[in-house]
């Protein structure tokens, strides 16, 4: 009895259709920070079907070059798009800067009484007072400063603002920017530097400071059609850059790419 039940369950599971990545649709490999608005934009595409696979920019770039069935790739980092381009993974003429973003410093919404962190009301102005914001033993949650784009941007700004010596030994470096966001949301870290879009999506954090764009290399999401793309990939990329799609991205806090009005 138990055995036949097991066989029945296995048979049913095997018969289930594999919906995601359906053969007739297009696949977008996208940076993890785009999840949410990109799904909405893809769902609204009228001229075909498309699904998105999310991950870190490095993993996405490597997968595309290794022959993953991707038609469009959107990364959070121009370096990895350059890497793909020099190795022939994308169609060079199709590459464009799709979106921009801003970086912000966030703190937990929960008050200092419950978290044990300094109360923002008692603290000096940012950014110069950043050390006080971390309290006695707090750490600044931040993407890994060598490997995660948001961490690289943050480090660039901290160095430019001469704040790096104060915080270099006080960082909690994470493997992606959403993990840094989670540390602040849980109040494990008293402050963090994340994308403006992340801060907007997480109700447990509060934006306290926006990093000035003047001191930063532009935060840009390049997109391109891959070398092995199927028919319709160019049309999909045009749709992603259309005003209708841009309205969805902007509602989530993304910016138009740097250099556009």
């Amino acid at each position: 009895m138990g055995k036949s039940l097991l066989i029945l369950v296995a048979a049913v599971l095997l018969c289930l259709p594999l919906r995601a990545g359906a053969g007739d649709g297009l696949v977008v490999h996208a940076a993890a920070s785009l999840k949410g608005p990109l799904d909405e934009v893809l769902a609204r595409w009228a001229d075909g079907n498309a699904v998105a696979s999310y991950g870190g920019s490095a993993a996405q770039a490597r997968q595309v070059l290794a022959g993953a069935p991707a038609d469009i790739v959107i990364l959070a980092n121009p370096d990895w798009m350059d890497w793909l381009e020099t190795r022939g993974g994308i169609i060079k003429a199709s590459r464009r800067d799709l979106l921009g973003n801003a970086l912000v410093m966030v703190v937990p919404v929960a008050s200092g009484k419950t978290t044990g962190w300094p109360d923002p009301a008692d603290l000096p102005d940012l950014p110069s007072g950043i050390a006080e914001w971390l309290g006695r033993d707090g750490r600044l949650a931040i993407g890994h400063t060598r490997s995660v784009p948001a961490g690289q941007y943050a480090r660039h700004w901290l160095e430019g603002a001469a704040l790096w010596p104060q915080v270099a030994q006080r960082l909690a470096e994470t493997e992606n920017v959403r993990a840094a966001l989670a540390l602040v949301a849980l109040a494990e870290a008293p402050a963090g530097i994340v994308y403006a879009t992340d801060a907007r999506a997480e109700p447990r954090v509060r934006e306290v400071f926006r990093l000035p764009s003047a001191g930063l290399p532009p935060v840009v999401y390049p997109a391109a059609v891959t070398t092995g793309a199927g028919a319709g990939a160019d049309a999909l990329l045009d749709w992603l850059a259309s005003d209708a799609a841009m309205a969805v991205f902007e509602a989530a806090g993304f910016l138009r790419p740097p250099g556009t009005p």
């Binding site: 870190g56 920019s57 490095a58 993993a59 770039a61 490597r62 370096d79 990895w80 350059d82 890497w83 978290t115 044990g116 033993d137 750490r139 949650a141 890994h144 060598r146 490997s147 995660v148 960082l171 909690a172 470096e173 994470t174 493997e175 993990a179 540390l183 849980l186 109040a187 494990e188």
Partner: protein, 234 residues
């Protein structure tokens, strides 16, 4: 093939974390294995399932639970901090805790197999000759299962060396503090053109893991020989 300072730091940290994790978890693993192998009680299968949980849960989930429980805001984290002044979050001690928990089921399994292979009649014979429970365990059971304990320790150590998901979720990826060998490999994989560092670290990890499994196998074979040899004499 040369090791940069970041790689050397990561290797040293991984060895320290794994050693501390193994030494801390081992006594508890022996006790748990003994209870599971020899005692009968209600809820035993639940205890067994709990012990194996880190083996089947996604490591990221284990790390997140650790963060919620042992983090600065977590109940156990606050207790440890107030009672003993121990902080785990974003410290190498937290990495050691994560590694210990992930390696624990492997240790228990190896040690439990060794205990179950011991002929209970040997222990009963000692008891009829007047030895107390602890004396039986110390003079009969423990020597017989020593190679099994060693095998479990080696497996747990190897698991600790390779642990990534729970560690990076619980204590992040801070060079010199919590950036273990796997975390360093992951970080280098994210940098275009850092393949050489990646290959070096991957070979290093492979060597450690292979050595651990070979040693563990050797010890397991020894425990089998030893116990079957004694059994024939009874």
């Amino acid at each position: 093939m040369t090791l940069g300072p970041e790689a050397m730091t990561a290797l040293g940290l991984s060895l320290r974390v794994s050693l501390v994790a193994t030494l801390l978890a081992l006594p508890l693993a022996v006790a748990t294995a003994y209870v599971l192998a020899r005692w009968r009680f209600r809820g035993k299968s639940l205890v067994n399932a709990l012990v194996h949980l880190p083996l089947v849960l996604p490591p990221v989930v284990t790390g997140y639970i650790l963060l919620l429980v042992f983090g600065r805001q977590g109940p156990a984290g606050q207790l440890l901090h107030e009672l003993f002044g121990i902080t785990l979050a974003f410290r190498w001690t937290g990495a050691a805790l994560a590694a210990a928990i992930m390696g624990f089921p492997l240790m228990v399994r190896a040690i439990r197999l060794a205990i179950e292979a011991v002929d209970p009649r040997l222990e009963e014979a000692a008891e009829t000759l007047g030895a107390g429970r602890w004396a039986v365990f110390g003079t009969i059971t423990l020597p017989l299962i020593a190679p099994g304990i060693l095998a479990g320790a080696v497996l747990g150590f190897a698991k600790a060396m390779g642990e990534f998901g729970a560690t990076i979720t619980f204590v992040a990826n801070i060079p010199g503090q919590t950036q273990t060998l796997p975390s360093a490999i992951y970080a280098f994989l994210q940098i275009p053109g850092a393949e050489n560092e990646v290959y070096t670290l991957v070979l290093l990890s492979l060597a450690v893991a292979l050595a651990a499994v070979v040693i563990s196998d050797h010890l397991a074979a020894r425990v089998a020989r030893r116990i079957s040899g004694r059994s024939r004499q009874t």
